[in-house]
């Protein structure tokens, strides 16, 4: 397009942010129209790393397609796998053993913390502070080590399988998780000292990227993005899956709807996840880690939809089955895609520097958006 190169007729500059740009956390391409430093319009151009996972899954069996979903939202790969496993189990009506359920929830929450840790560091780095990124990785590495020990990989684990989990937890798992909780609790006050309380940081975040509750719902925003606007949308509370209805935890809500509210939601969510882990880590019931399933899974004819809460929001798996061994059609409803659509609405009229803060608090993971 010619328009993308130069400037518009009324003298505004058109600036291509991305696909290779330090602030886009990957390969997001935004075409923004700016007047001086003020943003007039933000237009995402997606597809730079679109792999058509939905089409790919149509030729994979119900056991195979789960690993692909780790490559979507790679920061909450466990939770993506979990959603797919749940959806297949819903179709096959498999009763998952309690031990497997608890392990799954533990892994989900660890993943959520790891994802928020990375987000926290990257958020501060977007705003120009490099140090928090490395401090966040200290805690994130501890989680990755736990994952490596039990699941055998650090990022794309493929640990959830239909019927339970692939392997039982490692004998060291409980000890290591308790060590991590102690580490996290001793370091969490530093987050406040380094970033949250910092006057420069607060001024960069407060009143930036306002999103009202009505707009958040209309744009389909979910997860911390919507909860920062006071919209209650935690799937773990509203449509509980696994054992979330028996766990005592709080849905974090902030009402301001600005970047700082979204920031605070995520920071407080980390502590909530820690409390969930603390409730479960000593109470992993004995039993099987996997239900007995057939070697070849065949979903009955029909449609199955499963919603879970990833670190970024409402992740949905929609399987249409024709009764074969592979899905007829799969749709992944990714939270980042809807959250991104609100960016234009939020960014209009604010400064170029604010765009970075907004994108940071939306916590975009581009493979999740592009799928």
């Amino acid at each position: 397009m010619v328009e993308e190169i130069g400037s518009t007729a009324d003298g505004n500059i058109i600036l291509n942010v991305g696909p290779q740009h330090p602030a886009t956390h990957g390969v997001l391409h935004l075409v923004i129209t700016i007047n001086g430093e003020t943003i007039q319009k933000v237009e995402p151009h997606l597809g730079y790393i679109h792999r058509s996972i939905e089409k790919m899954c149509e030729s994979l069996t119900y056991r195979q397609f789960i690993y692909v979903t780790s490559r979507m939202d790679y920061l909450s790969s466990h939770i993506n796998n979990h959603a797919c496993a749940l959806c297949v189990e819903k179709g096959l009506q498999i009763e998952v053993p309690l031990r497997a359920q608890v392990i799954r929830v533990l892994m989900d929450e660890l993943t959520r913390i790891a994802s928020h840790e990375l987000w926290w560091g990257a958020m501060a780095m977007d705003l120009g502070a490099f140090t928090p990124f490395f401090h966040a990785f200290r805690e994130r590495e501890a989680i990755n080590d736990i994952m490596e020990e039990t699941c055998g990989a650090r990022l794309t684990m493929n640990y959830m399988v239909p019927g339970g989990v692939m392997q039982d937890i490692h004998p060291n798992f409980q000890k290591r998780v308790k060590e991590f909780i102690a580490l996290f609790k001793s370091k969490v006050s530093e987050y406040n000292e380094l970033v949250t309380g910092n006057i420069i940081f607060q001024n960069r975040m407060k009143g930036v990227g306002n999103l009202s509750a009505a707009d958040a719902i209309s744009f389909g925003c979910t997860g911390p993005t919507a909860r920062g606007s006071g919209v209650s949308c935690d799937i773990r509370k509203l449509y509980p899956y696994e054992i979330y209805d028996t766990i005592n935890f709080e849905e974090i809500l902030e009402t301001e709807g600005d970047s700082f509210a979204r920031y605070m939601v995520r920071v407080r969510e980390m502590s909530q996840s820690i409390s969930i882990i603390e409730q479960l880590i000593d109470n992993i019931p004995e039993g099987d880690f996997q239900a007995k399933t057939k070697a070849v899974l065949k979903l009955p004819k029909g449609e199955f939809y499963q919603r879970v809460e990833t670190a970024r929001g409402d992740f949905g798996v929609y399987i249409v089955s024709e009764g074969g061994t592979t899905p007829y059609r799969i749709k992944f409803r990714s939270p980042g895609f809807s959250n991104l659509s609100a960016l234009d609405h939020m960014a209009r009229g604010s400064k170029l520097g604010d765009l970075v803060a907004m994108m940071g608090t939306l916590d975009l993971v581009i493979p999740d958006i592009d799928r």
Binding site: L15, P22, A23, E37, G128, L194, I200, N203, K351, G353
Partner: protein, 358 residues
């Protein structure tokens, strides 16, 4: 005991015995030029390594540790890499200005070296309006940045240059005012005389609260003037990729990079001269024995020690704080620093007129 001043006097006397006065002048200028360039190169190597070490330790990392003992030769390897890289000029760029800009940056940095007293009685140019000279020349820095940003034919570069223009011009004010406060107290524009006025104690430690405020404002303002984080809006990499030097590569980029560090060194040297007594040793009242021990340390070590302490301060800021937004940056200057420093200089002038200082 030898010192820089003795060596320079020896060279001078040897030259004037063997050559006519014109040739002596020329040879001395060449020597000074070579010395300055060598100092630049050394400073570049040392400061880059220091920055990387400070950053690494603050970020609980090890930092460079592969090239040479303990990674000491890392910046040398980086320089070699930059030397052999291709220096590209983008299509549509104003080639002349594009290639000129990095050299302007270096020339400005070199000019600023002239009046700085590196040790007692060791100075390239003992200028009677040294402070004025420094403030005047340092504002030329913005020209090279604007030139680079404009000539690159890149929107990011242009925005970075414009930001930096607005930033440097506004922060000159409070930097100038805080420098003025020392001029008012010492009653001289000559850097040497300012140092001499601190023989019985550095201005910062003489117990004048307005001087402490002026020092804080000075540090903030020069951090902004040298485009260092948290005021690195001209090259804010998460917003503008690399700002005004986005299109530069190879040695031309290295010159900008070097000029940034040299500028940091110079403003810290000025800060050390004005507030921390330059090459003056640290003296405490009537503790004669202690003062004698302090006098024994060479004056050049005192000067570099103080300067590097201030450089560390500026690096420490960089690796701790997030970046400001452009409007907040100007807010900080016009709503906070400028009113405070104006009020401050009023207080200092009153002090000077009424003779309350010592």
């Amino acid at each position: 005991m030898w010192s820089f001043s003795k060596i320079s006097k020896l060279i001078d006397s040897w030259l004037s015995v063997n050559f006519s006065s014109t040739w002596t002048m020329v040879i001395e200028m060449v020597i000074a030029g070579i010395a300055v360039i060598t100092l630049f190169a050394l400073l570049g190597l040392v400061l880059v390594l220091m920055e990387r070490r400070v950053a690494a330790w603050i970020q609980i990392r090890l930092g460079p540790n592969r090239v040479g003992p303990g990674g000491m030769l890392q910046s040398l390897a980086d320089t070699l890499k930059l030397l052999v890289k291709e220096g590209m000029t983008p299509d549509g760029a104003d080639k002349f200005l594009f290639n000129l800009a990095p050299f302007i940056a270096m020339i400005v940095a070199m000019l600023l070296m002239a009046p700085i007293a590196f040790a007692s009685d060791f100075q390239l140019w003992d200028l009677n309006i040294g402070v004025l000279y420094v403030t005047a020349i340092s504002s030329l820095m913005v020209i090279s940045i604007l030139m680079a940003g404009w000539a690159s034919n890149n929107k990011y570069s242009l925005m970075g240059a414009m930001r930096s223009g607005a930033q440097i011009v506004s922060y000159e004010l409070s930097a100038g005012l805080s420098i003025m406060s020392i001029v008012v107290l010492s009653g001289s524009l000559n850097l040497n005389e300012i140092i001499q006025s601190q023989a019985d104690g550095w201005w910062l430690f003489k117990g004048h609260i307005p001087v402490v405020i002026a020092f804080i404002i000075f540090i903030i303002a020069v951090t902004a003037e040298t485009n260092r984080a948290p005021f690195d809006l001209a090259e804010a990499e998460s917003e503008l990729t690399a700002g005004f030097h986005t299109e530069y590569s190879g040695m031309k980029f290295a010159l900008f990079f070097l000029a940034e560090y040299i500028n940091v060194f110079i403003v810290c040297a000025i800060g050390a001269t004005l507030f921390l007594g330059g090459w003056m040793p640290f003296h405490i009242g009537h503790w004669q024995a202690f003062n004698h021990v302090m006098d024994f340390i060479p004056s050049s070590i005192w000067f570099f020690g103080k300067t590097f302490f201030l450089i560390f301060l500026i690096m420490w800021f960089r690796w701790t704080f997030p970046r400001l937004r452009i409007d907040q940056l100007l807010d900080l200057e016009w709503k906070y620093l400028l009113p405070i420093s104006m009020f401050n200089i009023l207080l200092i002038t009153l002090m000077a007129i009424l003779g309350w200082h010592f």
